[in-house]
Structures are given as structure tokens and as C-alpha cells.
């Protein structure tokens, strides 16, 4: 995405809707985030670019950052001067976060950061990357810390190429290489080592709820667009919607979308009431992304060959939504979380 779009979005108040006005944000709540996300999706832009920056990354700094860290980074993130990314996944560690190999070794007022990350969204434009690294490799979860890495002039930091994904083409994803990058100790998020895993875990329910919002909005868009298409499209002398199979398939798709909306709304209510936990986050995330993908696939089928074209909205949604079942913890991890709770 072009760099000036970020500044425009910032000027219009579309970035960091939840961040406090003290740091340049709009002081909104989850519903503000939902509105921006839904309208973006409605226009056929289902990429996570903005909400990753605004609703997933900014809260790390606002919730866990020291005051000077908030002052340094949040106003720029709200205005669009600073684009942020978060780097957890590594070539050998995805959903299994405790297996990360990236190391941060304390040396005086700095940490020496070494390792490799991959599939990192927004990295091509990012001035700021939150990097998960092991500060104590003898510890599992308690050995992980988060660092606020400023990319400009960071010696030893190398940005890999923009990876060629199946979908989400308007959003960059990259490999990152850290070769003895010296990160100031003042950039350790929250100022204490070993809290990274806990910080990540605590944020997951809300992040997964936001992913579900995106999935449900995409499913609704797909159903609406497909209804419009089958009303128009004529085959064998009648409109596609006049065939019973079309109506039945869309009836099922619409039912799924209506139920998904009801469940999502309930989850948002629970979140606002502080009664939304890791189990709920796992449930809504897997269900919404899985069902959304299924519905979009049915909708693509009803578009025939046009649905297979990348310039069709349904074709893009299909390729974009495939990521939802993997990102934010693969859906298998979600089922594991739920299954273990039984």
C-alpha cells in the first residue's frame, strides 16, 4: 500500500480508533474498530493492513508500554507517520510460539538481537516492528520478551522480499533478518524481561474476535454480491436465481451469515462486559473463518468462470479469506484450546 494512504487514513481519524486521545487516538471502543473494519470489507478491501496496525499492535504499546514508549510511538501510529508490524512467526515456529529461536542478549544499555522471522505483515512500510525474542532460552514461555525495533538505520536488520501470497495481494508480508541488531534497552516493551508470552496470550481473545469480525463481514459481502449476481445472470433462458439449486445454496449461505452475525454480536457484548475469554476467542475465530471460507466458496461457484478471475470481488474474497483459517493461530489450535477445556 502506498505510504501516503497511511497519512490520509491518520488525518481522517481511521487509525488507532481505540487509542486514548492523550496519545493522538480517538478514544473509541471495539465498536469503532468494527465500523472501520466492516466498511473497509464492504468496499472489497479485506486485507488486515489497517486493523493489524490499529487494533492489534497499538494496544500492545498502550497496555504494556512504559509511558515514554507510548509517547514515542503512539502519536505517530495514530497520524500514520509510523507504520507498525509485529513479528512472532519464524520459519520453524508458527502456532507453537514457545519454539521461537530469535535471541536477544543484554549488553549494557542494549540488547543484541539475532534471528529470522517470516510472514510478517506490513513490514515493507514499517518504521516500527514489535519483535518476539528469547531473552532466556532456558525458560519456555517465561523466556520470551517483546522489543520495539525501529527499522530506520538499524544496522544488521535486513528486510526480505515481499512474499508472493495466494491472496491479500494489497498487503505486504515479508521475511525479516536480524543479524546482531543493537536494540536500546529502553525499547524492551514494558521494561521487564520475560513478559512477552503473557502479553501475547492476554491479547489473543480480542485479536481473534477482531479476526472473526473481518470474516463475518466478508461472508456478508459475499452473500449480498452473489444474490445480486444470480438475479442478473441468465442461463438456459432463465435467471440463475430461478433455479432451485441456486436458491437452496444461497438460503444456506444466508442462514450461516445471519447466525454468524448473531454469534459475533453476542461475543462483542460479552467482550464489552469483560466476560469474553480465551475459549470464546477460539470458538468465534475458528467458526467464523471456517464458515466464511465455505460460504465464499459456494458463492464463487455460483459466479462460474467470472468467480475465478482475480478482478472479481468474489475471487479476491476467496483467496483472501483462505488466510483467516491459518492466521491468528491456526484453526486446529483453536479446536485444541476448546477441546482441552472439556
Amino acid at each position: 500500500m502506498a505510504r501516503d494512504v497511511w497519512r490520509k487514513a491518520g488525518r481522517e481519524g481511521f487509525l488507532c480508533a481505540k487509542v486514548s486521545p492523550d496519545y493522538g487516538g480517538s478514544g473509541g471502543d471495539l465498536l469503532h474498530c468494527a465500523i472501520i473494519l466492516e466498511e473497509q470489507t464492504r468496499l472489497g478491501f479485506s486485507e488486515l493492513t489497517f486493523y493489524l496496525h490499529s487494533d492489534i499492535i497499538a494496544p500492545y504499546i498502550e497496555l504494556y508500554g512504559a509511558d515514554d514508549q507510548k509517547q514515542r510511538f503512539l502519536p505517530g501510529m495514530c497520524s500514520g507517520e509510523i507504520v507498525a508490524a509485529i513479528a512472532m512467526t519464524e520459519p520453524g515456529a508458527g502456532s507453537d510460539l514457545q519454539a521461537i529461536q530469535t535471541r536477544a542478549v543484554r549488553e549494557g544499555d542494549f540488547y543484541r538481537l539475532s534471528g529470522q522471522k517470516t510472514f510478517i505483515s506490513n513490514a515493507q512500510n514499517a518504521e516500527l516492528i514489535i519483535v518476539a525474542a528469547k531473552t532466556d532460552p532456558t525458560q519456555g514461555a517465561r523466556g520470551i520478551s517483546l522489543f520495539l525495533v525501529e527499522t530506520e538505520g538499524a544496522e544488521g536488520f535486513k528486510l526480505g522480499r515481499n512474499l508472493n501470497k495466494i491472496g491479500c495481494k494489497a498487503q505486504d508480508s515479508s521475511e525479516l533478518f536480524f543479524d546482531n541488531v543493537m536494540v536500546p534497552a529502553a525499547n524492551l516493551l514494558g521494561g521487564a524481561e520475560g513478559r512477552g508470552f503473557y502479553q501475547l496470550m492476554q491479547r489473543l481473545p480480542e485479536e481473534r474476535l477482531i479476526m472473526a469480525m473481518s470474516a463475518i463481514a466478508s461472508m456478508e459481502v459475499a452473500v449480498e454480491e452473489t444474490i445480486a449476481y444470480v438475479r442478473d445472470r441468465v442461463v438456459f433462458g432463465q435467471r440463475l436465481i430461478e433455479f432451485q439449486n441456486t436458491r437452496f445454496k444461497l438460503a444456506a449461505a444466508k442462514t450461516t451469515a445471519v447466525m454468524g452475525r448473531a454469534f459475533l454480536d453476542r461475543c462483542v457484548d460479552l467482550f464489552i462486559d469483560n466476560d469474553f475469554d480465551a475459549i470464546d476467542g477460539a470458538m468465534v475465530k475458528w467458526w467464523a473463518t471456517e464458515r466464511s471460507f465455505e460460504v465464499i466458496d459456494e458463492c464463487l461457484q455460483l459466479h462460474g468462470g467470472y468467480g475465478y478471475m482475480r478482478d472479481s470481488s468474489i475471487g479476491r474474497l476467496y483467496a483472501d479469506m483462505r488466510l483467516g483459517r491459518i492466521a491468528g493461530g491456526a484453526n486446529e489450535i483453536m479446536k485444541d484450546i476448546i477441546g482441552r477445556s472439556l
Binding site: R247, F248, A251, W286, I338, G339, S341
Partner: protein, 390 residues
């Protein structure tokens, strides 16, 4: 981990406005089904029906016509009373007596469309359990398509003469009062559906078949009915002549809502039985819950159940505000019963061979569930209703 996906089931997170009165009724219903029905289920299955005495007992306990006005012997309650009773009935694993058919399907026809005289005559008898109610729509050649009904009611002097056949009629063997759909001739010689309130006491020309041998729900009677020159008094016409189709259609929303409520309760009961089973059953040296496939299958089922309950409760709240429409009710009926069958089947699978034995509740639920995708309008009809509104 202290939290569990189980919290989505039942009352713990319910958004329905149950009050103390509903809870009291729920406790009464639970005792009744557990102590007086469940132990009888097999005996009732042997004869294909429950005895009339159980209805009087239900009446004594206040489990009949809870949502009818007190002036007709009812409880003056609302749909939440019906939901509480249905949830308890499903939990206990019994189909007879079919209280929801009697309370939520038959009685409302009389209250809504009946004359003062019809209400005063029929409703107190239904509330006490002296009378058992039924609705007769389906015919051998006409199920979901009500326009195909052939049973006719011809005017004869002051009354009517009915000829025709009905089938798959719940309470067909035992009903004292039948809401009957039949063709009548209206002005201009056209034929339209009308409804009749048939009091079967000493009625000539009504023939009841034996209980039909169903795949499930064998404790509740279902039968064929035949009408041969069956004479009904003029006062038996329910609502206006030719209004049958409209009345039947109007009532379907609530009936389908209650089917959705029953499906959710069935799914939750199946999951409860299954979770208990997979925790105690060992295979290859460990409880089968420890296997990833078991955990994933149950994680999926519990999530589907949570989504469905949320949607069902939303439909109930909309119904209470008078906002639930035919399309939403069709969505709920279709998806809820579909999930009921698929989840109950998955739960049976996790029981292994025991799931195939009728001593186990899951086997009964499996047999009892299949009809839900067919009755109350086949699920294909639900998809037509939704599909046409797109």
C-alpha cells in the same frame, strides 16, 4: 484452565428473561419427566402410546396450557414457560406425552381463532388434561404442499359432512380434540382450506388406525385417520370458512421456533452424555477424550451448539417483541434440525458399539432426532422460504 466451552450450554449464559416463576415450573417439569415419564418410556413404546392418565397428572401439575389465559384454565404465561418445559422434556429423553404439540400448537389455534364458546368449551378440558389435542393436516398424497389436501367438508343442513384421510397424525390414536384441515367450497364455487375443531367424543365416521411403527419417538402415538361421512356440527368451524391456509401459515412461525428450541436442547443433551462417556471410556490405555480426534470433534460440536443457541435465543427475544418473521423462523428450523442430526450422529460415533444399543440415551436421541428435518415443513421447504425472500 477454569473456563470451559460447556458454559455456552443451557442456562449459564442464557440471554432469555427467565424469572422465578419459570424456574419453578422448570423444577416441576423436571420431576415429572424424570419420575413419572422416563421410567415408563419402554412400556409406552411397547404399546405405541402413553395412557390418558399421564395427561391428567400433567394437568394437575400445571404443565398444560401454561401460556393460555387463566380464565380458560391456563397458566397465563408466555413462550418462556413452554421453553422451560420443552428443555426439561428433552433432557429427560422422553417424547410422550407430547406437551409442546398440545400446549404450543393445538391450544393457540383455539385461543386465537376460536369463538368464545369454542374457547370456553375446549381450553379448560385441555388445561386439565381431560382432553388431548392433535392437528391433522398431512394426507397420504399431501405433506408440505397443503394445497394438495383432498379431505373435504361439505355443508349439510346446519352442519358439515367430512370425507377423506390423514396420516402421520401425532396423537392420532389418543386425541379427544383434533384441529382438522379440510377443503370447503366458498363463494363462487372455489375450494379453500378451512379448519374444524373436531370433538371426538361419540363421533361417528371417524376411524383411527393403529399406532404407526416409526423409526423413533415410539412412546408417542402417530396414526392414520379416515373420515367416512363424519358429521360435524356447524359450531365446529374454526375461524372463517376458507381461512385455513392463512391460519396454518400464521402459526408456523411459533411452531418452527419451538422446533429450534427442541433441537438446541437435544444437541446439548447429546453433548452432555457424550462428554461424560468419553471421559470414562478408555481405549489404548487412556480415556478417549485424550485423543485429538475426540477433542476436535467435540470442540466443533460445542462451538456449533454455542452459535446455534445464540441464534435461537435471538429468535426467541425477537418473538417476544413480536418481530420474528417467517424467514428467520425457517432459518432456525432448517439449520437447528440439520445440526441436531449431524451432531447427534457424531456423538453416537464417539460412543462406539454402545451408541448402537438402545439402552444408551444417545441411541434413543439418534432415532428420535431424524424426524425433525421432516416435520413442521421439510427442511427443503425452509430453504424455499429463505431462497424466495433473497
Amino acid at each position: 484452565m477454569t473456563s470451559s466451552a460447556i458454559k455456552w450450554a443451557g442456562a449459564s449464559r442464557s440471554t432469555l428473561p427467565f424469572n422465578d416463576e419459570h424456574d419453578m415450573l422448570r423444577r416441576t417439569a423436571r420431576r415429572f419427566f424424570d419420575a413419572e415419564c422416563a421410567p415408563q418410556r419402554e412400556a409406552w413404546e411397547d404399546v405405541g402410546m402413553a395412557p390418558p392418565g399421564i395427561w391428567r397428572r400433567a394437568g394437575e401439575l400445571g404443565l398444560l396450557c401454561m401460556s393460555m389465559p387463566a380464565e380458560y384454565g391456563g397458566g397465563g404465561g408466555d413462550i418462556l414457560h413452554s421453553i422451560a418445559v420443552m428443555e426439561e422434556q428433552v433432557r429427560a429423553g422422553v417424547n410422550a406425552p407430547m406437551l409442546s404439540l398440545h400446549n404450543d400448537v393445538v391450544a393457540p389455534y383455539i385461543l386465537r381463532y376460536g369463538s368464545q364458546a369454542q374457547r370456553s368449551y375446549a381450553l379448560p378440558r385441555m388445561a386439565s388434561g381431560e382432553w388431548v389435542g392433535a392437528v391433522a393436516m398431512t394426507e397420504p398424497q399431501s405433506g408440505s404442499d397443503l394445497r394438495g389436501i383432498q379431505t373435504s367438508a361439505r355443508r349439510d343442513g346446519d352442519g358439515w359432512v367430512v370425507n377423506g384421510r390423514k396420516t402421520f397424525i401425532s396423537h392420532g390414536c389418543t386425541a379427544n380434540l383434533i384441529v382438522l384441515a379440510a377443503k370447503t367450497e366458498v363463494e363462487g364455487g372455489k375450494e379453500r382450506l378451512s379448519l374444524f375443531l373436531v370433538d371426538t367424543t361419540d363421533l361417528q365416521g371417524l376411524h383411527r388406525g393403529p399406532p404407526l411403527d416409526k423409526l423413533g419417538q415410539g412412546d408417542a402415538d402417530t396414526a392414520e385417520l379416515a373420515f367416512e361421512g363424519m358429521r360435524l356440527p356447524a359450531s365446529s368451524l374454526l375461524g372463517g370458512p376458507g381461512d385455513g391456509f392463512r391460519m396454518l401459515s400464521d402459526r408456523l412461525v411459533e411452531e418452527r421456533l419451538m422446533t429450534g428450541v427442541g433441537a438446541v436442547a437435544t444437541i446439548e443433551a447429546a453433548l452432555e452424555h457424550t462428554l461424560a462417556y468419553v471421559k470414562q471410556r478408555h481405549a489404548f490405555g487412556q480415556p478417549i477424550l485424550n485423543f485429538q480426534n475426540t477433542r476436535f470433534a467435540l470442540a466443533e460440536a460445542y462451538t456449533e451448539a454455542a452459535v446455534l443457541r445464540t441464534f435461537m435465543e435471538r429468535c426467541v427475544r425477537r418473538f417476544l417483541r413480536g418481530e420474528l418473521d417467517a424467514v428467520e423462523a425457517a432459518m432456525l428450523k432448517d439449520r437447528a434440525t440439520d445440526l441436531q442430526c449431524s451432531i447427534v450422529d457424531q456423538c453416537l460415533q464417539l460412543h462406539g458399539g454402545y451408541g448402537y444399543i438402545l439402552d444408551y440415551p444417545i441411541a434413543r436421541l439418534w432415532c428420535d432426532s431424524r424426524i425433525a428435518k421432516i416435520y413442521g415443513g421439510a427442511n427443503e421447504i425452509m430453504k424455499e422460504i429463505i431462497g424466495r425472500a433473497l
